[in-house]
Symmetry: C2
Subunit: 249 residues, 2 copies
Amino acid sequence: MRFSSSLSFLSETSVDGVREQLFTLGEIPGVLWTPDGAVGTRPLVLMGHGGGQHKKAPGILARAHRFVAECGFAVVAVDVPAHGDRPKVEEYDRLAAENQARVAAGAELAPLIAEFQAMVARQTVPEWRAVLDAVQQLPHVGAGPVGYWGVSLGCGLGVPFVAAEPRVRAAVLGLGGALASAEAAARITVPVEFLVQWDDERVPRAEGLALFDALGSAEKSLHANPGLHGEIPAYELDSMIRFFARHLG
Amino acid sequence: MRFSSSLSFLSETSVDGVREQLFTLGEIPGVLWTPDGAVGTRPLVLMGHGGGQHKKAPGILARAHRFVAECGFAVVAVDVPAHGDRPKVEEYDRLAAENQARVAAGAELAPLIAEFQAMVARQTVPEWRAVLDAVQQLPHVGAGPVGYWGVSLGCGLGVPFVAAEPRVRAAVLGLGGALASAEAAARITVPVEFLVQWDDERVPRAEGLALFDALGSAEKSLHANPGLHGEIPAYELDSMIRFFARHLG
């Protein structure tokens, strides 16, 4: 196995009843949020951040605080390769430059993004499974039910992760298209809440609907709202909290 | 005005803290649910029942009880012409027979349903407005904010009603298609929660999505779930309650 199996903790703080522990697992920088003074096993939500973001991006932080404070869950997030505190990856940079050239020459963007995300997922799926292994050994987390939350890049990487990881019992996904993920999506069987932005300027509407369609889950719920890629309305966060509470709580 | 402006009450019962008053308004039979002992103005939800159903169909009754018990709302439902306690309408019977013949001869069903619903709506829109007028004069209802709930036939009749009635501040609609309702839908500006059944055997998926697309509302949320026309999952009722509580409460 290429991963260290135990966490090294770097720092610990507490804000509004939420304990935040920065850690590394081998070369992977991560953050764990739990209720202050938490003891014993609890549900754990792994959150995958968006492209260009990182493990403590404002949206990740805000959702993590609410999942911990309102549900008593543990939440963990790690930097995706070439994001946050992780070094650049030359192969990714080279591919990004190549893709820019291909788009400039008239190629469609969506298949290139799909190809890129599939490549990154081959690295993140085993990384995230190792993070689950390590975090679930902590006495204030334990081996409880696991949820996954991720949209945009977090969906592109999340679909193959949820498909591969039997500990995941429920997932919030969205802002992703079928081109990247339809095959893995068909292997997902857990309940999914799936977000589409009706006026998404990055993911064509039909691609988003096709990915929802491709999910193999018997219980899946599409929530579509007007607005651009980054404009998920605030009431969807309330809905996600109830969704995870129902399936993990 | 062709309607009597005051309600005649026929009976009153109470179950689980919910008071039920059967009434007529002229020729329209209706039912009003309010919290036991309610005094003063409160939000009012008008519910439109589905085709072949009536004002006290099990689904209507179950939702009404939850809206009253959990939100303290008043809920009113009336029989659509030719449904429930109302007499047959010869013109409708004639048209239904004609439509059956046209479908047997190869005509598409959806445009015929659309035409039929538009005709019924010309009668129900003024009826339902008169019901609001009368019910809002009651001291335990009053002139508070109004919501509308209706799917299937209740959507076909509800879209023109919500478009025409400025007292309605929020609506749950769905299981209807754009053919019947796109023009009126574009005039709706209040928040809408819109339900699509992903495997609807009566309303083609693209028709349902097109009706959501046609809604003029800045805040509108599409909730799509697997299953046939009649198989809206139970968790959507929880969602509707929160939707109405947010916009009317």
